[in-house]
């Protein structure tokens, strides 16, 4: 647990430090992220021998204390968070199109990092509210870094996020009013099926869905994610929307009455199917590259929503493995896709999709990164996206009554292939050889390729990965 706390505290402390001294800003944050990553790995190693570790903050006892819990799932999420922060940080530091060594990106991203780790570790409804608010405020601030053109999107994001927080808070208040506890385990033990509980959970679900941009409450996402600076887009799509999803999963599996969870599950699964198709449809229609990638997030969250929905509907905790594999695979693939897209957009000097025409020749590495990441988004074997889809498909085929869901997954697969290859095919449009090739940045392109290679490399550790996720996800 100490390692986990170190991994949580370091980014936050480094953020305060650089705000005070304002020297070697990017170096300090990068170093702190790297140490935080090491600590997360150590925590992950530790949790293998001692599967569930809890900590009561400030030595208070329950119900007053805030409880942290470390399982192999959230240890893995901590490793993921730190890895992605480190990679994106490297990109932001060394790409010509990064935000520079002294920008506000550094302290803000570090706070974001800590907020996420706190969210993964918390098992307390109100503490989650605090981490959610922190996450929102920092994320909005990060979006504004790309200048006045992003202000409108940022404000839209902020306003919707604030109201979402209030929905969540009202739900928490009603639950506390009924049961007098905020700790997840205690609530899980006490909760009964009552109108008040259902209303409270419904309010929380609405708030969390809005924050996680789950269909149909996703409208703020494409603007915010597409207009943010590239590094920020990557963080937002890869990690930030997954936080509320995590809370949604835990509250509904732990607190929700079975019947209510099953009703919600059906709705989630239906919404998820629609999200897969409508997100992909929008991605196919948009004329802008980064907006396409952002809509792909909407569609991919559909997979998560279907998985969560079916998990609740059938009360099969095993599907949590698929859910978190989706999250991990999507996070890595989306970092690659956004970094590659952003690098191309900046190099070609146009945010239009059409600008990537011929990119397979002028920026082969970035384009390759996009395609490889896209392969995982589509779910081609043996990528991480495939592993997740494989586990999800298993129970779908167990009974003929479940086959329609498999059809939704099939359509989703084809739809995601359509938008990925919309970009890739354009890149193979033969570049007019007469034109001068733009000056490209090899290191930035390699950095964008790296997470995509990792997500395909997950195949090599697929078995232990599934084991970790299944033990960590079913406390």
């Amino acid at each position: 647990m100490n390692w986990a706390l170190l991994s949580l505290a370091l980014p936050l402390l480094s953020a305060f430090w650089v705000l005070l001294v304002r020297r070697a800003v990017s170096e300090t944050i990068l170093f702190a992220t790297l140490v935080s990553l090491t600590a997360a790995l150590a925590a992950f190693y530790q949790v293998q021998s001692d599967p569930v570790q809890t900590l009561l903050l400030g030595d208070w006892t329950l119900p007053l204390a805030i409880r942290f819990e470390l399982t192999s799932l959230n240890a893995l999420l901590m490793v993921l968070t730190a890895t992605i922060h480190f990679l994106v940080g490297l990109y932001n530091r060394f790409s010509r199109h990064g935000s520079g060594r002294y920008s506000d990106y550094w302290p803000l991203s570090a706070v974001l990092h800590s907020a996420l780790v706190a969210l993964w570790l918390s098992r307390d409804l109100f503490n989650w509210y605090v981490t959610l608010e922190l996450l929102t405020l920092v994320a909005v601030a990060l979006v504004t870094l790309s200048g006045p053109k992003a202000y409108r999107a940022a404000l839209g994001y902020l306003v919707l996020s604030l109201i979402a927080s209030l929905f969540y808070l009202l739900g928490v208040a009603l639950l506390y009013g009924e049961y007098g506890v905020l700790d997840l385990d205690r609530l899980s033990a006490l909760a009964v099926d009552s109108a008040n509980t259902r209303l409270a959970l419904l309010l929380m679900v609405l708030g969390l869905m809005l924050k996680a941009a789950l269909w149909p409450l996703y409208l703020w996402l494409p603007d915010a994610h597409a207009n943010a600076p590239t590094a920020v887009s990557a963080l937002l799509s890869a990690l930030v929307v997954k936080g509320p999803l995590f809370i949604l999963w835990l509250t509904l599996t732990q607190i929700a009455p079975v019947e209510f969870a099953q009703q919600l599950g059906l709705i989630f699964a239906l919404f998820g199917s629609v999200a897969l198709l409508s997100g992909a449809w929008s991605a196919l229609r948009t004329p802008y590259l980064k907006t396409l990638v952002a809509y792909s997030t909407v569609a991919q969250l559909g997979y998560a929503l279907i998985t969560l929905g079916l998990l609740l509907r059938w009360q099969t905790p095993e599907l949590a493995t698929a859910l978190w594999l989706f999250v991990i695979a999507h996070a890595l693939a989306k970092v690659s896709a956004f970094l590659a897209a952003g690098e191309m957009q900046a190099t070609f000097g146009s945010k239009e999709l059409i600008a990537v025409r011929g990119a397979s020749q002028s920026m082969p590495l970035a384009m390759f990164a996009f395609a490889v990441a896209g392969g995982s988004l589509i779910g081609l074997p043996p990528s991480g996206g495939f592993l997740a889809k494989w586990i999800l498909l298993q129970p779908l085929f167990a009974e003929p009554a479940h086959w329609p869901w498999a059809l939704a997954i099939l359509l989703g697969t084809l739809a995601s292939a359509a938008y990925v290859f919309r970009v890739v095919a354009l890149a193979f449009d033969r570049y007019d050889v007469e034109t001068e090739l733009p000056q490209t940045d090899a290191l930035a392109q390699w950095l964008s390729l790296l997470p995509a290679l990792v997500v395909w490399g997950l195949a090599l550790i697929s078995q232990p990965l599934m084991l970790w996720l299944s033990t960590g996800a079913n406390p």
């Binding site: 020749q361 043996p382 592993l387 498909l393 298993q394 697969t413 290859f421 449009d429 195949a459």
Partner: protein, 504 residues
């Protein structure tokens, strides 16, 4: 099993994968290094395959495993059937690589081309060596990804359109295969391909699911095997450069689909189960119809490459037909045809490429008298075309003979009509070409004589790197027919495979 036996299948895949990946990083002007990498990959792979062939014929087994999914390891395995396909791929890869080096001389983006070319062969070989359905699926999808850049290589509007259509078909097919694989995995896990199939024990309990899985798999594999009605991508993909078409038609994509069907019927479901579930008639009818349909469509084409493309649609279905007949003799025909069709079709595409590159002849009406200008190419073309028609002693005859006998053996005499009809149609669309080529009146001037290789009829009729592979595959097409009775022929190997499958 020694370590070497374990690593052998992996090394066969890596022998083209690693050079391919290195080639991606090369600059355009590093021609010697690129050629060296290409050729060393080719020859290392040949050596490895020959070693494995000798090993398998002496009863060794080669197997490489990596844990991947629950109950489904990543397995590469050299058995008799897989080696048949691997050998074909390696030999044709060798010929096609040399051809492609000559063909693309001086054109841009060659590093990219040869990189994907090597990946494509690696995926094909991996697919051939796949030891279970999950591994097969993996390489099946990778093959799609590796071939797409080759199809759109020219980067023209037509190429991109063809590429998009190709992807739409093959990715949809891949998804169907995925669903089929998952469905079977739910029932039986994904054990290794087993002679006689591994699903028989589930017949009574899961017959509906098994039928559905079979339909999904055949539909998905049928896309790549260009079965009617999902053959549409194949003629359109003709915009790709000639070596790509050759590879696509002879080994990589189309054959991957056909090979998959062979695997599914023999080593997943097993002949008995397919028989019991009554799945044979639809497959048989589909294959028979595709054979005739492809031939009729071929007849209607005016462009040489398009005609060859539809001919592939028809010819590859011979394999499906032979499998669907479910008898041992037809099976011999089917498995031998896997090799035979590859050799003949690659020859024909090389020839078409030679005509196009040397004289810019694309349309059939321009072929008049081309035999006088390019006699060797035209001779190779004649060998390929006669083989396709089934004239003895060329490879194609051996296939048709066995298919015919096999049909009689299982009491499906009507299949003979299909074979004869298709042979006649073949004659109708190939003989005029041969006639035009040899006896037609040459035009005063060819559309554009590039003077490749010297420009005089004979050894210097075109670039030697274009001519040599063409003659090589033509000669091999004759040899496998003439030497069919000996123990080193594809036919003999097919018999070995079938003896195992039908436990004769």
């Amino acid at each position: 099993m020694t370590l070497l036996h374990m690593l052998m299948p992996l090394m066969v895949v890596l022998s083209s994968l690693i050079p391919g990946l290195i080639i991606f990083t090369l600059r355009e002007d590093q021609i010697e290094l690129r050629t060296l990498l290409n050729l060393s990959g080719v020859f290392i792979k040949m050596a490895l395959v020959i070693t494995m062939l000798i090993g398998v014929s002496q009863g060794y087994s080669y197997e490489f495993r990596l844990p991947f999914l629950p109950n489904a390891d990543l397995t590469l395995r050299g058995d008799a059937l897989s080696l048949q396909f691997v050998t074909l791929s390696s030999i044709l890869w060798m010929a096609t690589t040399i051809y492609a080096i000559g063909y693309l001389e001086g054109s841009p983006l060659r590093s990219r081309f040869f990189g994907y070319f090597s990946l494509c062969v690696s995926a094909t070989v991996g697919l051939a060596l796949a030891g279970n359905l999950v591994t097969f699926l993996l390489f099946y999808e990778l093959l799609t990804l590796a071939t797409f850049p080759l199809v759109v290589h020219r980067g023209t509007k037509a190429a991109l359109r063809a590429g998009r259509i190709y992807l739409a078909y093959t990715l949809a097919g891949g998804t169907l295969v995925l669903l089929g694989v998952v469905l079977l995995h739910d029932i039986a896990g994904s054990p290794e391909f087993t002679i006689g199939g591994y699903l028989t024990v589930f017949e009574t309990e899961h017959s509906a699911s098994l039928t559905l899985a079979f339909a999904l798999l055949i539909a998905g594999l049928g896309v790549k095997a260009a079965l009617f009605p999902v053959h549409g991508w194949l003629p359109r993909a003709m915009v790709a450069p000639a070596p790509v078409s050759a590879l696509l038609h002879a080994v990589a994509v189309v054959k991957a689909g056909a090979f998959g069907i062979v695997r599914v019927v023999y080593d997943v479901f097993g002949v008995d189960l397919v028989q019991n579930l009554n799945l044979m008639p639809p497959l048989l009818w589909l294959a028979a119809f595709t054979i005739i349909f492809g031939s009729v469509m071929a007849l209607r084409q005016t462009e040489l490459k398009k005609r060859l493309a539809y001919s592939t649609v028809s010819q590859v279905s011979y394999i499906t037909l032979g499998v669907a007949l479910l008898g041992p003799i037809a099976a011999i025909g089917a498995i031998a045809h896997l090799v035979h069709q590859g050799l003949m079709k690659v020859t024909l595409f090389f020839c078409a490429g030679n005509f196009a590159e040397t004289l810019h002849v694309h349309r059939i009406q321009d072929m008049n008298g081309i035999g006088k200008r390019m006699p060797y190419t035209m001779a190779a073309f004649t060998v390929g075309a006669l083989g396709m028609m089934g004239a003895p002693p060329i490879a194609g005859f051996i296939t048709k003979w066995h298919l015919g006998l096999g049909a009689l053996e299982v009491g499906q005499a009507w299949v003979l009509l299909v074979l004869v009809g298709s042979g006649l149609l073949n004659a109708l669309y190939f003989l005029p070409l041969i006639y035009r080529g040899w006896f037609g009146l040459p035009p005063k001037a060819w559309p554009e004589d590039t003077g490749l290789g010297g420009g005089s009829p004979g050894w210097r009729e075109t670039h030697w790197m274009l001519l040599l592979p063409t003659l090589f595959t033509a000669v091999v097409s004759i040899l496998v027919g003439v030497l069919a009775g000996t123990s080193i022929s594809p036919l003999a190997w097919a018999k070995l495979v079938v003896d195992l499958e039908f436990s004769l």
